[in-house]
């Protein structure tokens, strides 16, 4: 054969060894599967997903819609990866779980047996019982099916209203805007996403979104969605009784765990499937991780439900080890996240309180310039760092992670700020400016 073609090897699966069944092929389910395979080369592993045959990058759905990438580009692994790893993929929806008989029923009538079960069913968009929310052109943006619906709806849309000013909201706005639709975003907050961001960042983000031609309505809330007799959206009414005509309503007011499947079983749940710090549910050999899991006792006051790509990946790794039989519990480490608001990149490390939080004991250092770049460093009362936000400036994750773990002082950070720069070469550095300003402020 050709020297550049790879040879097939014999199956290593042992039918007497445990069969792990994973429901959900998002980042958590997939990461867990690969981790289990690394630990247990002979176990049978099956992943079921009704959403798609192959794992794809959920955050990249927007790029598929905007025509930046083809469907095949969204898949982080080549299709033959799964047969090489001997991970079986079933592209069906699961209808029910039977814990006594240890099997699940699929929508084609088949049942699949398991020895160990991982639930990684993700989230679903929040709907707060608004009148008209079941009209035809009302939807969230989470799954491939949502994207499909959006694509079908699109030709009849001239104007779209997006309810909820978070990360998905701005993505949906960018998507619709790229296809020449007028977009209105309704935000309950005073500035975009200021329930997470401090005021200055939220103002800057609002400015950038508006610069791109999006009509951002602050401090405005949805009252009801109007429809015609054919169940088509015709507009929305706000709580101040203002009316906006539109043909599409996007609901992006957060997500909540997708647990409809387990509600009929005796697996314990509250908002999400309740798990300990090793992702064990109330039922033996049943695990849950990712967006759908809720920690019984999160370590030192952290979130009970984590709904990020990054946490999904980290949780998948840990639960994979646990299922393989290793003793491990989840320590997320220093918080981090990133996003992009149109052309404005955002990174955050550690803990930065939002505009709405009470933080009298913290010292804030905030710098911004004409190019809409911004950097915030938050310190405790002893001037040791607890968090940072950056807008339009790239910083190094490892460096900040180290500084935050060691609780470095502001003086130390300013001394070493250049080391954290991650902008491409030839970019004009704003560090000298930042250092000068923060040094002045820290000595005050």
């Amino acid at each position: 054969m050709w020297p550049f073609q790879r040879k097939r090897r014999r199956s290593r699966i042992d039918p007497d060894h445990p069969h792990v069944l994973i429901i959900g092929n998002g980042i958590t389910g997939i990461t867990a599967a690969l981790q289990i395979r690394k630990n247990q080369p002979t176990w049978k592993i099956t992943i079921i997903s009704g959403e798609s045959q192959y794992f794809y990058s959920r955050p990249a759905l927007m790029y598929l819609f905007m025509g930046h990438m083809r469907w095949t580009d969204l898949k982080p692994y080549a299709d033959d990866k799964w047969s090489q790893q001997e991970i079986e993929l079933i592209h069906k929806w699961v209808l029910s779980i039977n814990l006594e008989q240890k099997n699940v029923a699929l929508d084609d009538g088949r049942t699949v047996r398991f020895d160990k079960l991982l639930l990684a069913t993700g989230s679903q968009p929040n709907r707060f019982g608004w009148p008209g929310q079941s009209l035809r052109q009302v939807q969230g943006l989470y799954s491939l099916q949502d994207l499909e619906n959006l694509e079908t709806t699109l030709p009849s849309v001239q104007k779209a209203v997006i309810v909820g000013g978070g990360l998905i909201g701005v993505e949906l706005a960018e998507m619709l805007h790229s296809r020449n639709k007028h977009v209105v975003i309704l935000c309950r907050e005073q500035h975009y996403w200021d329930n997470v961001l401090p005021t200055e960042e939220a103002q800057l983000v609002t400015k950038v979104i508006r610069k791109h031609g999006i009509d951002v309505r602050l401090s405005s809330e949805l009252q009801r969605i109007r429809g015609d007799t054919n169940n088509n959206v015709t507009g929305v009414q706000l709580t101040d009784s203002e009316e906006i005509d539109c043909q599409f309503v996007g609901l992006t007011a957060g997500v909540s765990p997708n647990i409809d499947l387990i509600k009929p079983t005796n697996i314990a749940y509250e908002r999400g499937i309740l798990v300990d710090n090793s992702f064990r549910s109330s039922v033996k050999n049943v695990f849950a991780a990712g967006d759908c899991a809720e920690f019984l006792q999160p370590e030192n006051g952290e979130l009970k439900i984590e709904q990020l790509w990054y946490t999904g990946k980290q949780q998948g790794e840990v639960v994979g080890d646990v299922i393989s039989g290793k003793q491990r519990s989840y320590h997320r480490g220093i918080w981090f996240n990133s996003a992009k608001f149109f052309d404005l990149e955002y990174q955050t490390y550690g803990r930065v309180p939002s505009s709405q939080a009470n933080h009298a004991d913290l010292r804030h250092y905030w710098w911004t310039d004409q190019k809409r770049r911004g950097l915030r460093i938050v310190c405790d009362s002893k001037n040791n760092v607890v968090g940072m936000n950056s807008l339009g400036i790239r910083h190094r994750h490892q460096i900040w992670n180290g500084w935050l773990e060691e609780k470095k002082s502001i003086d130390y950070i300013l001394e070493n700020l250049k080391k954290a720069e991650f902008d491409p070469e030839f970019y004009s550095s704003c560090s000298p400016d930042i250092i000068a300003q923060f040094r002045r402020e820290s000595t005050q």
């Binding site: 020297p3 550049f4 073609q5 790879r6 980042i27 009704g50 798609s52 045959q53 990058s57 955050p59 990249a60 790029y63 598929l64 905007m66 025509g67 930046h68 990438m69 083809r70 469907w71 095949t72 580009d73 969204l74 898949k75 982080p76 692994y77 080549a78 592209h91 929806w93 929508d107 491939l144 099916q145 994207l147 499909e148 694509e151 030709p155 296809r179 020449n180 610069k211 790509w309 990054y310 980290q314 981090f336 990133s338 996003a339 992009k340 149109f342 052309d343 990149e345 990174q347 790239r394 190094r396 994750h397 490892q398 991650f422 902008d423 491409p424 070469e425 030839f426 970019y427 004009s428």
Partner: protein, 458 residues
Amino acid sequence: MNSSLPIIGQGSVSTVSHEQVSLSKSQRAGLALAGLGFVAGVSVGIFQPKIEGWAPLLLVFLPITLGSLLYIWSTYAGTIPQIMNDGIVTRSIQNRGRIAYVLGVMITAFYCTLYWRPEYLVGLYSTLNPLSQLLNGGAADQWFMYGFMYTLAMLIMGVRMYFRYRDNAYQKARTFSVVFFQVAFAFLLPSLLKKLNQPEFYFTYFWPLKPEYLFPDSVHTLIQNGEAVGVFMVTWGAASFFILTPILTYRFGKRWYCSWVCGCGGLAETLGDPWRHLSDKSNDTWRLERWSVHLTLLLVTLVTCLVWINSWLGGELLGAFSNAASRWYGFFVGAVLSGVVGVGFYPLMGSRVWCRFFCPMAAALGLWQRFFSRFRITTNGGQCISCGNCSTYCEMGIDVRSYAQRGENIVRASCVGCGVCSAVCPRGVLKLESGPTSKDRFEGAAHPIREFIKSLKT
């Protein structure tokens, strides 16, 4: 629940059916103007009118230039500085649609005519006589025309690059550099040398990309005819590869050449940019690439040895064979692979087909880059969301994401350091940089020879 979505079932973006975005009036005007120039060019080529002076040249190339610039200007003027990739994978011309095939056939046909039927181009290249007279003192031939059109294409599409990536300082610097080296060192300087009765020499090309510069014939000719200048040229050619290349590649990675200086790379980066996402990212193609590119390097080394041995033996033993070998290398690698396939297939296989699969210089630089260089693309901790923009827009077909999502540095022999992965990353995860040493870039980097031998086996 719907499980048979066309979007998944067909494995295509069939459902992402963009409404045809119509071109603006000024974009249409630009295209029409460029089209007029094209028609004028074809007519002049066919009818070969006997008109002296600058008129025919201006008639053909001025509308093409102004029309293209008008199109570019009306596309980007007034937009917010950011990389606009909207609709790139749904446009026919950029996605192997009918227009792409027509374009591919046209460019290929042009190259075939240029190499093997230049007599059909007499009418066209005669229009360049006044410019040729001005620059090098002689009449234009097909190679002067080729150099002129090549440079013009890079200038026009360089302007496009500048607008498209104007929010990115690295891209601007790189585009400026690569266009500068083409205009100054690959177009003006060789002409000037000719005018001064010196050998026509390209200082930015050397062995093994231009192997004949170290063939005995040209070495002897250069030294005899060019005297001091000739000696300098031969020395420059040899030193560039054996001294300059290792030093610069150690310091900056192969990008110092491939995406900052080289003309082939320059054309790919400017004219080829609209098709960069067409490069194949599969593992099989990567394996094929490793074989083909290193085989070409081996081939050029063998041919070079052969002609030198033949020359030392006075041409008695291997005369006919070594001549044939170097002629065949020139035909197959120089003409077919670098020209016809390399550029003609831009609209079908992406912009770096030649550089990726065949260029012996890229192979040599790649070996340096992989094993003896401080260059790497750093991944920013755990910030990767596996979206795949980096892999999609990698013109060399590197699956950048596969490294980024594992938090690993990207240290690949083929990486030309264009920096577009870093530019399109929505989370700021990638940074091209030279670290303190070559040894901390990947596992095993401290033992390059061992690593090299290992790489031969996989």
